[in-house]
Each structure stands twice: as structure tokens, then as C-alpha cells.
């Protein structure tokens, strides 16, 4: 069996580095710390993160989606080194600002019925890019 070696793969119009094919990728993703001074740990196709208040965040795209009908999934860890508190009774709310070039997420603690900062928030989005 032979192996094709190439740095980039393309179809004549679009191309991606080999790592995108071999490792796979979403159209946009972000892992950020929502406590203290908020900070993006790592991301793809996310330009900035905005701390809107306790447990509420928005982020913008580098490359907008073609419309606001893209799909996103979320995950959250509330505190460092706390397996008992991971995700737990948390939910995401207030996705009203779900736009092609930005989106807003809120972390809500159903135990205390209040927004709550989370040490790790993960959002992965798929859809057609503009």
C-alpha cells in the first residue's frame, strides 16, 4: 500500500493543510476561561471574546458563517479540579443573539437559579462559512 504525502489538500477551489484532513476540524470552536479576567485558551475562527457580566459571554468570528442557521454544541466545567462539579446542573441560555458573525452564550446554574462564571466553556459550531 502506498502513501500520498502532501502539505495541503484541495479541490482546485478550496484547500486545507494536511492536518485539517488528518485531524479533522470544525468550522469554528473555542475553549475559554470565563472566570477572573476572561481569556480564550485556544480557538479556531474566533476573533474575540467579550465578558458581558457574570456567566454571560459573546464572541465574534474571524470568518462569518453564511447565515445564522449554523449548529452549535456546548460544554462547561464550573470549577478547577472538581470532578463533582463538572457540568452538573448547568445549562446554556439566552442564545437570542445567534448571528452569522457572532454569538452569545450564557452559563446558568440551575441549583442557584443564577448566572454563573465557569472555568471552562467550550463551544463548537458547524455550518457553511461566508
Amino acid at each position: 500500500m502506498s502513501t500520498i504525502n502532501a502539505q495541503n489538500y484541495g479541490d482546485g477551489t478550496d484547500s486545507v493543510p494536511a492536518s485539517a484532513v488528518l485531524q479533522g476540524t470544525a468550522k469554528a470552536w473555542v475553549n475559554f476561561n470565563g472566570t477572573g479576567t476572561v481569556a480564550i485558551r485556544e480557538s479556531f475562527n474566533v476573533a474575540s471574546l467579550t465578558d458581558l457580566g457574570t456567566g454571560r459571554y459573546s464572541f465574534s468570528r474571524s470568518n462569518a458563517f453564511s447565515n445564522s442557521n449554523y449548529s452549535s454544541t456546548f460544554g462547561v466545567i464550573r470549577q478547577d479540579n472538581s470532578s463533582t462539579e463538572s457540568s452538573g446542573n448547568m445549562s446554556f441560555q439566552s442564545l437570542s443573539s445567534y448571528q452569522a458573525s457572532s454569538m452569545r452564550v450564557s452559563v446558568y446554574d440551575n441549583d442557584t437559579n443564577a448566572y454563573r462564571d465557569a472555568v471552562m466553556v467550550n463551544v463548537v459550531s458547524s455550518g457553511d462559512l461566508a
Partner: protein
Amino acid sequence: MTIDYTQYKLWEREMIFKDQHKNLPQGNYAILWEDPADPDAPAKVTRPSPTWLAMAMHGGILPPVEVYWALREDEERDGFIRHTRGHLLHETPPVPAMTEEEAMEYLVMKDLPPRIWRDYKGNRSILKIVSVELVPTDRVHRNAWKIKQEAA
């Protein structure tokens, strides 16, 4: 090897850039801002992603900020269904390398509403670019944060 990013779409450029640059540092600055359209809301804190900031400082990757204004205008139009000018992101000649301070100013104009950085005529300071160290890390009373006004 020098990569000519202009031959790639914007999202491809980021993918290639990420592939070539690992463990990028956090930026040194944050944008503090208040929204005059929502005076009771707390001050907001905006920070760039390390990848975006590194691309801005690298140059030859990001489109001029006017491209984002064009897309924002389309998105805010009644009846917006989908972007038809997305090609501007990929085909407009990219901007050259910026300093970190210039990148933060670009980010203000890209991601904050124009009513914050262009149209506001009030007396309060509602927008500041500050060193990250000046942003409180203690989030007690986070929902009451306001930008400290300079003494008259």
C-alpha cells in the same frame, strides 16, 4: 518558506497559520466598554483570541476592517437571509502587519457597535483599551462594574 496567504480563503489562512504557530501567548490588552443603549448593564471586557491577535500582528492575513463593516451592514438589514458578499473576506487585499495596539484598535472597530466608538457624544468615558493587569480579577459585584471616570 514564506506563505502567500492571499491565495487562500480567510478561514483557510487561519487553519494554515494555526498549523504553523503553536502555543501563542495571550495579548497584553483588553477593551473595556459600556453600551449607552443599555446604561444599566455592567461594563464589558473584550479580549482577542491569541490566534487572531497573532494573525493581525503577522500581517497579510486579515482583510481591512471595512470588509467587516460591509458584512455587518448586510447582517443587520431587515430580511437578511444569508451573506452574499462573503467573497470580500477572501478577495480583498489583506492589511499589513499591525502592532498590538493597532490590532486592538482594529478589533474595537470590528467587534464593538459603532455607537460605542464612533457615534457616542456623551461625557462619560465608555471605551478604554487597557493593560490586562488593570482589569479586576475579583468578580465580586461583577454585574455592577463601571469604567472608572477620570477626575475632572
